[in-house]
Amino acid sequence: MKVLVTGISGTLGRLTALKLLRHGYEVVGIDRRPWPDAPEEIEIFQADIRKRPAEDVFRTHRPDAAIHMATVTHLVTQSPDRMRVNLYGTRAFIHHCDSYGVKQAVFVGRHTFYGAAADSPLYHTEDEPPMSAHTFSELADLVAADLYAGSALWRYPEIATSVLRIVYTLGPSKHGTLASFMHGPNVPLIMGFDPLFQFIHEDDAAEAIVSALAHKLHGIYNVSGPTPVPLATIVRAAGRRPLPVPEMVFKLGLGRLGLPYLPSGAIDHLKYPIVVDSDPFQRATRFTYQYDERETINSFRTAR
């Protein structure tokens, strides 16, 4: 079975590709970025998912399944075409799947879809609407991409489409939203708030994606690992020092005074939890995580 992975050169893309290979799949990848030391069994095309060369890969390789990971995260990149990559990239992916006979499509999304607020419940279920797009405009394109991918479920019912809303990944690569946030030795937090954070080892996340493919999932699924842990506890366990800053000062100091650059909408994500219920995914795939909460944080802390 041939699987095409978009965004293959990213951390999660690479891990997923390697796992697919180990499970006996044939792997083809598309990414704007190179993956210099990729295994030679994996054919990689350096192309933009929105452009003609990417479509040619679909046309000539005729993959049986495709995994879309070519979306840009909300906190790291501020490039002006991020929104276009996320929205038009997702559209191109779904169109190509339809045009070139792809039987299975997996869209890798994020659990931040649900948004964080003082009155949002713990353990969001997949039917809940996104509540953050209005307070966190930087997240709007990712929310829209998720909903757009979900629309493939009724627009192309013959393709087994699954939308995965995966919690923050953490691991030795030190990549990802949570890892970048804990980059330095001191991690600024908002004084008086300590939200639960849900994370999964990056290796487990890749395994979950492969498992969604293997079980031909059709639908929208939350994907999580161990039970959530308060942010300050994570920061301490990661060998960093939590530095509680009053909200007013935090807002004024964003991008200055050694504070990270964060869009102001991200502040709610540092005050309130986003915790998802992944029972349907577990039931459908029998997926179990290999790394518990402490092992996951340790793998991040001890990575060089």
């Binding site: 004084m191 008086g192 300590d194 959530p228 308060p230 366990a237 402490r294």
Partner: protein, 278 residues
């Protein structure tokens, strides 16, 4: 969070240990309750519960010792001392101890500190999805159907009841949970509010700021009566018409009014414990 603030009371620690909760490797339960924070906070609170106030509790056995249930009662003071005392009775007097999850007003989680403390002790913003999930997990929910209108009662009305919301009943019906009514008496004496400042409250992001007889928002040491009635069971799906649910709510409201009446009589020593009909 509370490591340096409060010392641990060994008896409280043993009771927290006896709670039916699953903690992960960091001592956190799936809903974010922190064992260490809970122990320290309840240790400090135990002193207030036992020595500053005094609570005469009747019918504690009426609260199921395990499994889902909705505790429903009255507000009787400018701030929710009643809720705190119910918490105290369940954590410090009930055998085995249980941790009720109160359904809080939204404003509480908007305050720094309060948000963190409430999150680590399992107290969430009142939200039907959240409550349903907790009940289905066999937890105990604490609801005050009078809401903020209930805490806003002035001292002279402390033993009366204002309009009840129906959310708790729909929740109980949908999750097939028993409703345990309780009456709380004495809140009006601990914190006799004579006025509520609404405009000033809005400045601080709350509905009102209560003003007591002595001005300050400090309750005086008081003896309270807390009466738990027999569990009430209702049949339904939770999707009935308002009139149907309303009449069930009225039954609970009447029961609570009766418990308050008896509590008042026992407070005034007009009847004794043997006369109570719980």
């Amino acid at each position: 969070m509370l490591d340096h603030l409060f010392p641990v009371d060994p008896e409280v620690a043993a009771r927290i240990e006896a709670l039916d909760l699953q903690f992960n490797k960091f001592g956190i339960d799936p809903y974010g309750i922190d064992k260490n924070d809970l122990t320290r906070f309840v240790s400090a609170f135990a002193w207030i519960y036992r020595y500053y106030f005094k609570v005469d509790i009747y019918g504690l056995d009426n609260v199921p010792s395990q499994g889902r249930a909705v505790l429903v009662g009255n507000h009787s003071g400018g701030v929710a001392i009643d809720g705190a005392m119910v918490m105290g009775s369940m954590l410090l007097d009930a055998e085995p101890p249980r941790l009720p999850h109160a359904m809080l007003d939204k404003f509480i989680h908007q305050f720094p500190g309060a948000s963190q403390l409430m999150s680590r002790t399992g107290q969430f913003t009142g939200n039907p999805d959240q409550a349903k999930r907790l009940l289905n997990a066999g937890r105990l929910i604490l609801a005050f159907p009078e809401g903020a209108r209930g805490t806003a009662k002035l001292a002279k009305d402390a033993d009366s009841l204002v309009g009840f919301g129906t959310g708790f009943m729909r929740l109980a019906l949908e999750t097939h949970s028993p409703v345990v009514p309780f009456g709380f008496v004495g809140g009006g004496d601990a914190l006799p509010t004579v006025a509520n400042l609404k405009r000033l409250g809005r400045l601080f992001g709350v509905q009102y700021i209560p003003i007591t007889k002595w001005g300050l928002l400090i309750p005086k040491p008081t003896r309270f009566q807390l009466l738990y009635g027999k569990p009430m069971f209702f049949e339904g799906t939770g999707h009935e018409r308002d009139e149907v649910v309303g009449s069930m709510v009225d039954q609970v409201k009447e029961r609570i009014a009766d418990l308050i009446r008896q509590g008042r009589q026992i407070r005034e020593k007009k009847i004794s414990e043997e006369d109570l009909v719980l």
